[in-house]
Each structure stands twice: as structure tokens, then as C-alpha cells.
Amino acid sequence: MSGMRRRDFLGRGALAVIPLLGWRAAQDTSVARLPQPELAGRPQGPVTDYQNDPFIIGVERRLRCTCGCNLDIYTCRTTDFTCTYSPELHREIVAMVQQQMTGEQIVAAFVTKYGEQALMAPPKEGFNWAAYLLPGIVITLVGTVITWVLLRRQRMAAAVAADAPPPPGLSVDEDARLRAALDRLES
């Protein structure tokens, strides 16, 4: 309800100021003007097809915005819509796409211009392999060692159990029955 009232009010307000906006004849006058447009965030242009192009979005997701936010270009330009860098970087990418550049060529051009930091993940080459492989190598190595130790201890425990004489007062048969019962109980 309150939203409707506000809209009606704004609509009337906008109608009142339309004569003052005569100089904007080229603009679409069917859409009401906001009372205080400067307080409605950064001015935006109409959305172009490029902004929703999956190919461009895919490339933007691989490249980091240079504003210092740690986000990729697509996420940055569509988050909060306050960044001034990411729309500019988007336009750069669009220009490259219009020049028929491939995704890899665009990414390479960005790396040349902004350095390796332009990539959202380190390229898989040279020392960067350490970033990708070390966690896996450490986990695999430690896992292998744990498995080896476990199997070794299992063999040792089995050997000790097989060699151990039955406790005093128990026959071999009773000992076997007791072990079976304990195993059942513990499992």
C-alpha cells in the first residue's frame, strides 16, 4: 500500500518537473524522472546484450577486477554497482570481443597489461604448480603412511593374538569362544 502511495506521489512530482526538462527532448519522456536522481546510486546506462553474454561473463569470471576487491570482473561489476573499475574493464573486454579475439587471447592480453595478478587463479605453470599440488601431495603421502602403519599394526596385533596362550584357567576352546563373544560385543 505504502509503496503505491509513494509511487503515485513520485509520479505527480515527476509530472510537475517535466516542463523543466524540456531541454532533454532526445530522452524518452514516457519514463518519469526521479526527484533526486543523484541519490539513487551511480548513473546507469541501459543494459546491453554484452552484459548478459555467457562468453563474456565466462571470460570476466577468469579475470580479477583491479579495484582491490579480490572479486572477478563480472562479480564486481554486478555487486553493489558502485565500482568504477569493473565497468571499464567490461568495456575493454567487449571491445576485444568485437575485434574477434578468442577467450584465451583476451585473458592473455589482460595478463600482458595488468600482470599475472589479473588472473583469478594462478596459471598452472612453473612454481604455481606448488599451489595446486602440495595439499593433494601432503594428504596423499600422509594417508599412505597412515594406511601402511595401520596395516602393519593390524598384522602385528593378529600375530600377537595368534601366538598368545590362553589366559590361566581357560582352555583353548573357551578362549576362542571368549574372543568371538568380545568381537561380537564390540562390533
Binding site: G3, R33, G41, T78, P122, Y132, V142, L150
Partner: protein
């Protein structure tokens, strides 16, 4: 009041040093006077830190803009709730908050720990006093919240608009409570090492504290995700940001500890590992604070770069060396009492669970610091963003999810083939059926498919455990199913609380699969114009722009854009997203305009609408629409996980006094035998 606050901090510094010294000496000499003094010092420290905190709160509430901190983080028109949250909204205030909460926890540990652990308490007091002294020193010498300006500004800068959110009022304290309370288990571990009493006593003493800090960390992390989702306007909840990673790492090691501690309690194994895990968790909690405050790694969440980083770096180094030496010097005392008998046992599954949890923590740490390492080695920084973390951590996460299901199915000591068959039959059948259904609906994402299959498997194992337990109670005691469920959980809180936590983890993973099917679109719409999107469930969602309104509210000027939403032609609601321009008490704009996303949530999907701005200052609006499947499951998972934690934590679920006494007597006899031989 700020003068009193400053004075209280200086007194806390002196008293903290006193507490550390008498705690140590009291423990060494067994002198009851010194021990009593150390204990009382922790209470006095809590009192002094409360006075200091009160000093800052009063300055914030009274708009004392001569205080630099108040001028930087508050303003006259800031709502009172946010004036209070401004207390920890900035660097200096948050460090004071750290010290305050730590001193309160330290006092609570002294007051609430049963007398049977009295032999540990002087050292616990010494350790908590040392850590409190560290935080008071940082506050006094590097980031003083009471420092004054040469003039009195008419108004303050105000709090960052993104922090003016209910989530931000509660998320940082929860996270801090989690971080800070790790100090208590750490203090007990150090005390156990110093006293050489490395039986399960110290583990029982810290059980509640460990769970408490884990629950707080879990709540803090989930609330942080919620805040990022509703406030930052990017339609996601986790970005592998260094500060997010900093909270995740100690959570992982604490989770590992909560599992490995069971092996020490049941079998007397993994004593060394448990001490290392507690030390590691504490170090990671300090490391997280270091990352947030030092500015060594860039993050959207970071506080401004400041000299506090050096303090933290030295504290980490000195603390690490001390803990390393202490553990090494007690290495022989930490020998296992039992040997593992089978690779197919609950213990073995816990080994692998610990390996994966700590391995994941390492991989997150490695990715977080790799830019620094790359700069050191190659002289050039690289960006390590979400694509890297997802690639490395998703497989580890899936393996963990699988183990979450497998672990509880395997018996302690040794599992027989028959037992394994009986335990795994139903869960494996459920997993295979799920895989069949997913193949039939042609689920395209491999990781999402694997996560759903493993989630089904783990849910089946949890369900099976409850089903069998309830069935047994129903048959043995003739209880109806509801009563059997309540008693089953109530009398085995640790076990079944743990299963509830596992269920929460499963729900999280189901939620994460939704991210693979997220759909986004930007559109500029004139009033009355529509845009159509297809949801991952094949439904048609139509967003029709209604208009933009502008109005003043509290400390901001709001531009609100509304869309009507229909699903397959049926209206499901109106969503209104806002652009907020915050103003000071003189009406002057402060900060950049911020965005409030409009969110419509249900179990299937979230509709997430962001008003980007207006075209040429007209009512033609630019929107970003996101269809975000299964997001509500994240919050649901967090709630279930917290519920499980609370069930486990609820008093009465632990070992009885008689069991503890028997264990302690047995251990003392063992010590006597050892000494005699």
C-alpha cells in the same frame, strides 16, 4: 569515563603480568596463597576489562567525538544498536572486545571448572593472563580506542553502511567468542603439559569449552555467510576471502580435535596429536586475527593496515616456539596407551577424518598465503581466488562427506565382515538409488551429483543409527517412538548430538550443490516492462518492474525499486531492492551508496534482486536478477548443526563423576607403578 577506561587498561596490564607470574609460581611451588592470588587475578582482570569496555561504550553512546575512535566509527544519527556494534566495528575497539571476552572466559573457567582439576588451574590462570596481557598491550601501544583528537568534530564519520545490518551486530561477536574461547582449551593443554598430568583429565575439563568454541565458531561463520549474502549484494555467501578462510581454518582443526579426542578418551591413543591440534587451533585463531589486522593479505573485510600486525607476528612466533618446546619435552609422556588393532575400525576412520580435516585446513592456509609465498619466491604476486579454492577443496570436502557417513558405521577396535555388511547394506542401497535418480534426470554437474549421492548415503547412515536406537528402546522398554527418540538423544547426548551435527553438515553440502545451478541476468526495465528467466526446475519466472520511489529514513536517503514476480503466470509477490545513500546529521552524504538486495526464499530457491541504479535519472531501473537454488538449506544446515552442538553441550551428557573418579584413580595407580618401576 574514557580516562577511567584508559586507567583500567593500564591496571589490567600490570595485573595480568602479576597473574601470569603468580600462576606460574603457584603451580610450580604448590603454594595455596599464590594459587589463590592467581585465581583472584583472573576475576579482577575481568572486572578491569569490563570497566575499560564500559568506558568505550559510554563514549559511543554519548557521542564523545573528541575520542578518535568514536569520531571514526559513529555519528549522531547512527541508530543505538549500531552505536553499540561500532564498539567492535573498528580495529582498536575489536581488540578491546577480544581482551574483554577473553578475561570473562578466563574468569568463567576459574569459577566453573570442577575442583578435581584444581591442579591445572594456576597454570590455566597464568596462560590466560599472558594472552590477556598481549591483547591489552596491543590495545595500549598500537591501537588505543581511547586516544583523543586535538579538536572536537561536530559529528562523526559514522559506521560503514555495510556494517549497519542486524547480521553484523551479532556475527562478529559470535566469531570472536569462537576464536577467543579456543584460548581456554589451549590454556588447559599447556597446564596439562606443565604439570605432566596428561591423562584424560584435562580433556574432560575442556570438553564443554571445546564444544562451546566450536558452536560459536559455527554460528559466527554461518552468520557471516548470511551477512555477506543479504548485505553485499553479489548473490553468494562464500568467496574464499582471506578473512573467511581465517575463520574456517580453526573450525576445521577444532572439528578434527572433537573427533580425535574420542580416541584418546576411549583408547588412550593420539595424545600427542590432540595436544598439537589444540595448539594449532589456538595458533590459527591468532593467525586469523593477524590476517585481518596486519594488512599483509588484501581482503574486503580487513581492518586498515596498522602496526598491530607486528605484535601478532611476534606473539605467534614466541607462542609457537614455546608450545613446540613444551610438547617436545613431554613427548614420552604423551605415548599412546593402546595400539591400533585393525585398519577397519572406528579409530582408523577417525585417523583419515583428521587427515582430511587438517589437510583441508592446510590447503586453505596454503592458498591464503600463496600470494605472499609467490612474491617471496618469484618476486611477483598472484591472485588465489575462488576458482583455485574450489578446485583444490571440493574433492577433499566430498571425501570428508563420505567419511562422515562411513565413520559411524564401523565398530571400535575391529570390524568384522558380517558387521560391515549389516551396517553398509541400506546406506549403500540408498546412495545407489539416488545415483540412479540423478542419472535419470540427467544432472549435468559431476561434483553436485557426487555431493548428492554422498549426502544420501550419509543421511541413510544417520537415519539407520536413529532407527535402530529408537527401535531398540521401543522393544526393550515399550516406549512409544517419540519418547524413545527423546530418551535416546537425552541419554546419549554426545553420540546423537554428533549425528545431528553430521546431518547439519549433509544439509550444508546439499545447499552447496545449488551453486552449480545458479542463474543470473541483468536487465534495464521501464515501469511495466518485464523480463523472463527460466529456473533450474524448468519454471518460468517473470519479473515486472513497478517503479522507483525515493524517501528519507533514519540516517539515510532511500531509492527503492520494486518488481512483481510471477511463477508460471501465478503471482508470488513483490520484491523491493534499495539503494541507500547514508547521510550525517547535517544531511551530508557519507560513504558510497550501498545496496539492499530483495530476497524471496523458499526451500527450492531464492529469488535475489538487486537494484543497480536508474537510467538517466529516470524510473527506468537497472536490475540484476539471480535465481539461487537451495540457499535456504545453508541457513537450515547452520541451524541443525548448532542444534546438534547444543544437544552435545547440554549438561549431563558427559561421563559421570564416578566414571571420572575411577579413571583418575586408575591413572594415578598407573603413575605410581611407573614411578616404582
Amino acid at each position: 569515563m574514557t580516562v577511567l577506561g584508559q586507567l583500567a587498561l593500564w591496571l589490567a596490564l600490570l595485573l595480568g603480568v602479576w597473574g601470569a607470574v603468580v600462576g606460574w609460581m603457584g603451580g610450580q611451588r604448590g603454594d595455596p596463597v599464590l594459587i589463590r592470588s592467581a585465581r583472584r587475578t583472573t576475576f579482577a582482570l575481568a572486572g578491569l576489562m569490563s570497566v575499560a569496555a564500559l568506558g568505550l561504550v559510554v563514549a559511543l553512546l554519548k557521542n564523545d567525538f573528541n575520542v578518535s575512535y568514536v569520531a571514526s566509527y559513529s555519528s549522531r544519527n547512527l541508530p543505538t544498536a549500531y552505536k553499540l556494534s561500532a564498539f567492535y566495528g573498528g580495529q582498536a575497539g575489536s581488540l578491546l572486545f577480544w581482551g574483554l571476552v577473553l578475561s570473562l572466559f578466563a574468569a568463567a573457567a576459574q569459577a566453573l571448572t570442577p575442583r578435581r582439576y584444581a591442579y591445572l588451574m594456576p597454570y590455566v590462570a597464568a596462560v590466560t593472563s599472558v594472552v590477556t596481557v598481549f591483547f591489552v598491550s596491543v590495545t595500549l601501544f598500537a591501537a588505543n580506542p581511547f586516544s583523543r583528537l586535538d579538536f572536537v568534530p561536530l559529528d562523526g564519520r559514522g559506521l560503514n553502511p555495510q556494517l549497519q545490518n542486524p547480521g553484523m551486530v551479532i556475527h562478529p561477536p559470535m566469531l570472536y567468542l569462537g576464536y577467543i574461547s579456543i584460548t581456554i582449551p589451549f590454556a588447559f593443554a599447556v597446564a596439562a603439559l606443565l604439570t605432566r598430568r596428561l591423562d584424560v583429565g584435562w580433556l574432560h575439563a575442556i570438553r564443554k569449552w571445546t564444544l562451546l568454541s566450536w558452536v560459536f565458531l559455527s554460528i559466527g561463520i554461518t552468520l557471516g555467510m548470511w551477512w555477506a549474502y543479504v548485505e553485499l549484494g553479489w548473490g553468494g555467501y562464500w568467496a574464499w576471502d582471506p578473512v573467511e578462510n581465517a575463520s574456517f581454518m580453526p573450525w576445521l582443526t577444532m572439528t578434527a580435535f572433537l573427533h580425535s579426542v574420542m580416541i584418546q578418551e576411549k583408547r588412550g591413543m593420539l595424545k600427542r596429536w590432540n595436544v598439537i591440534l589444540v595448539g594449532l587451533s589456538f595458533a590459527l585463531s591468532i593467525f586469523g586475527t593477524f590476517i585481518t589486522r596486519s594488512g599483509v593479505i588484501s581482503s574486503v573485510h580487513s581492518f586498515a593496515q596498522s602496526p598491530v600486525g607486528n605484535f601478532f607476528a611476534w606473539f605467534l612466533i614466541i607462542g609457537g616456539v614455546f608450545m613446540g618446546w613444551l610438547t617436545w619435552s613431554r613427548w614420552d609422556l604423551l605415548k599412546s596407551e593402546a595400539r591400533l588393532e585393525s585398519a577397519l575400525s572406528r579409530e582408523a576412520s577417525f585417523f583419515f577424518n583428521n587427515l582430511l580435516l587438517v589437510g583441508m585446513s592446510f590447503s586453505v592456509l596454503w592458498g591464503t598465503v600463496f600470494p605472499m609465498i609467490s612474491e617471496l619466491v618469484r618476486g611477483s604476486q598472484v591472485t588465489v581466488g575462488p576458482p583455485f579454492f574450489n578446485q583444490v577443496n571440493i574433492p577433499i570436502g566430498l571425501a570428508l562427506l563420505g567419511l562422515t557417513g562411513i565413520g559411524p558405521l564401523i565398530a571400535w577396535r575391529k570390524a568384522s565382515p558380517g558387521h560391515l555388511r549389516r551396517q553398509f547394506l541400506v546406506p549403500v542401497a540408498v546412495a545407489l538409488a539416488t545415483a540412479g535418480i540423478l542419472a535419470a534426470v540427467r544432472l549435468s554437474d559431476v561434483y553436485a551429483g557426487m555431493a548428492l549421492v554422498l549426502a544420501a548415503f550419509t543421511t541413510a547412515t544417520i537415519g539407520q543409527e536413529f532407527y535402530r536406537g529408537i527401535g531398540a528402546r521401543h522393544r526393550l522398554h515399550g516406549e512409544n517412538y517419540a519418547l524413545a527418540f527423546a530418551r535416546l538423544v537425552g541419554r546419549n547426548r554426545r553420540r546423537y548430538g554428533g549425528y545431528i551435527v553430521h546431518l547439519g553438515i549433509v544439509v550444508y553440502f546439499v545447499a552447496f550443490t545449488g551453486q552449480a545451478f545458479k542463474t543470473e541476468m541483468e536487465a534495464s526495465l521501464k515501469p511495466g516492462e518485464s523480463v523472463v528467466m527460466r529456473s533450474p526446475y524448468g519454471e518460468e519466472l517473470t519479473f515486472t518492474h513497478l517503479g522507483v520511489s525515493q524517501y528519507e529514513a533514519l540516517n539515510r536517503f532511500v531509492s527503492a525499486a520494486s518488481v512483481e514476480v510471477t511463477r508460471n503466470g501465478r503471482q508470488i509477490g513483490v520484491l523491493t531492492s534499495e539503494k541507500r545513500q547514508h547521510v550525517d546529521s547535517f544531511g551530508r552524504p557519507t560513504f558510497e551508496p550501498s545496496t539492499e538486495a530483495a530476497i524471496r526464499s523458499d526451500l527450492r530457491e531464492d529469488l535475489y534482486v538487486v537494484f543497480a541504479g536508474s537510467v538517466d535519472g529516470t524510473e527506468e531501473a537497472v536490475y540484476k536478477f539471480t535465481i539461487n537454488p537451495l540457499v535456504m538449506w545453508v541457513w537450515l544446515g547452520g541451524a541443525i548443526l548448532t542444534l546438534g552442538g547444543v544437544v552435545t553441550l547440554w549438561p549431563g551428557g558427559g561421563p559421570s563423576d564416578r566414571t571420572l573418579r575411577r579413571a583418575m584413580e586408575g591413572y594415578q595407580a598407573h603413575l605410581v607403578e611407573e614411578a616404582a618401576s
